[in-house]
């Protein structure tokens, strides 16, 4: 989908604290609810407190085409997300979106291995909604710091075939990094055809998954996060370094315009 870009004030249908420091917002926008795909994001003008300059990007988490609404989930990590907690149901939120490209499913896929770290879970409900009509087995690897940091588990209860959870402090699921669970799983796989990894999360997790995908020779798509001043290709502030120059000679692609989803093998993580 090539979307016409738009800055629009959309009604806040509901705003909820869903777990420790994590909130969800349901926004009414027929266009996004009708057309957006997993990996795409919106860029939100947060309330102008705390000397904030830029918008803040958030992935489209889930859509409800019937009600014309969609959800984002976010975690309070700094001044922008803190300011965002002051919104109220009934207000409008000024957003730009849908922005960016999205995850894609190759025709030969039989298993989607989703790997999420923390709020990296954001695109995956929509991923399942997007692709649910295909004959795919869904396997979810989802790790957080601690028990009270998971979100949308209900959704995944009924939609994924396999679920691996881990917490760094061991308060829920396996103790340790979710990539350890992933590694065990990949080791145990007999056939690799038709398996595909989709990953979103903090950079160290992405870098580790890249190693694993390479080692086990499984294709992977990744949704990256970078700082974004604009989100729509105007500032050139969001470069993603490439393993080797693109066909047009570029050494960097732009996370907001050429991404946020990339083929794992194409890009470099600076760790």
């Amino acid at each position: 989908m090539k979307d016409k870009k738009r800055a629009i004030a959309v009604p806040i249908q509901s705003f909820n604290k869903i777990t420790d420091e994590i909130y969800s917002i349901t926004l009414y926008d027929q266009l996004i609810a009708g057309h957006a795909h997993s990996g795409q994001f919106i860029n939100v003008l947060v309330p102008r407190a705390n000397d904030i300059l830029w918008r803040r990007p958030f992935g489209i988490h889930r859509i409800n085409a019937d009600t014309g609404t969609f959800d984002i989930v976010f975690k309070v990590v700094g001044r922008g997300t803190k300011a965002l907690t002051t919104i109220k149901t009934g207000d409008k939120l000024d957003i730009i979106g849908p922005l960016g490209n999205h995850f894609t499913c190759p025709p030969d896929i039989n298993e989607a291995i989703m790997v999420a770290g923390g709020l990296g879970i954001a695109p995956f409900p929509l991923f399942i909604q997007d692709t649910g009509n295909k004959n795919i087995q869904y396997t979810l690897f989802y790790g957080t710091k601690s028990k009270n940091q998971f979100c949308s588990l209900d959704f995944f209860n009924t939609t994924v075939d396999n679920r691996f959870l881990a917490t760094e402090d061991g308060s829920f699921g396996a103790k340790g990094f979710i990539t350890d669970s992933l590694e065990r799983y990949l080791k145990g796989l007999t056939a690799k055809d038709g398996k595909y990894i989709y990953v979103c999360g903090p950079t160290p997790l992405l870098a580790r998954v890249k190693q694993l995908a390479h080692r086990f020779n499984i294709r992977a798509q990744v949704s990256v996060e970078t700082m974004m001043a604009c989100g729509f290709g105007a500032c050139m502030g969001c470069p993603v370094p490439l393993e080797k120059p693109a066909k047009d000679g570029r050494k960097y692609l732009l996370a907001c315009k050429d991404g946020p989803v990339f083929n794992m093998e194409d890009i470099v993580f600076d760790e």
């Binding site: 800055a7 003008l45 300059l53 001043a229 604009c230 105007a234 050139m236 470069p239 370094p241 960097y252």
Partner: protein
Amino acid sequence: MSNLEVKIGNLELKNPVTVASGTFGYAEEFADFFDLNLLGGIITKTVTLEPRHGNPPPRIAETSGGMLNSIGLPNVGVQGFITEKMPFLRTLKTKVIVNVAGKVGEEFPEIVRILDDVDGIHAYELNYSCPNVKEGGLSFSANATVAEKLTASVRKATTRPIIAKLTPNVTSISKIGLAVENGGADAVSAVNTFVGMAIDLETKKPKIATITAGYSGPPIKPIALAKVFELCQKISIPVIGIGGIASTTDALEFLVAGATAIQVGTANFYDPCASVKIVQGITGYCRENNIEKISDIIGSLNI
């Protein structure tokens, strides 16, 4: 309707509101958001002789109310610009000002000569002042003799209007302004970004890969306004005001201080319609205050 037209040399703008180089891409990035033809003019991202990749990440950081950038002038080079970007720009019914920069002085007239054969370009802005490139960059407009010579060399290369974009990182911006005026510039634009820096305490690393970077946005407005005022007092060619302009009030302050036109920069990032809102705001202001022509405001500072 008040008359909002202004003249920069013999370049006529339908209104004084333009957009700053590097903050508006090649205009196409904003075409979905509003009718670009409502703007007084568009200034492109800097074009260089050869294509450039730009600097490694991180290139940007948000500070208290402002931002740092060290993008490093990534662009497809002048030939790529002509084939990839000009076709869209040529469809616009507003003035197209191409911002150019050379790695070395001689490249400025060279790029301008190449562009001079291209239709649909109304003027050049000479980026003498990018603090984020190793080669040249700042130095072109930190030294009056260099700036004058460079301008004179470009003057010989084109009859289209040339606007010298000045760095604020100097002791006396008006000395540089006088130098480029002597060199034959039709106007100056000021200011480019300030050299700034931020540090990530956790990693003890600079927040921008190139250590220092260009500082822009609302926090620079008071300094930019003082520089523009200084230029307006001291030089005879028009001054285009830039620096932290985010609202109609900001824009009018620069006009009152003496700027003939203004550029909206960083504000485009968080509000892609910021520039057109300022066009509307100025229109409304003139109507409400019975101002017949915008030139009645320009330089009207009451001192």
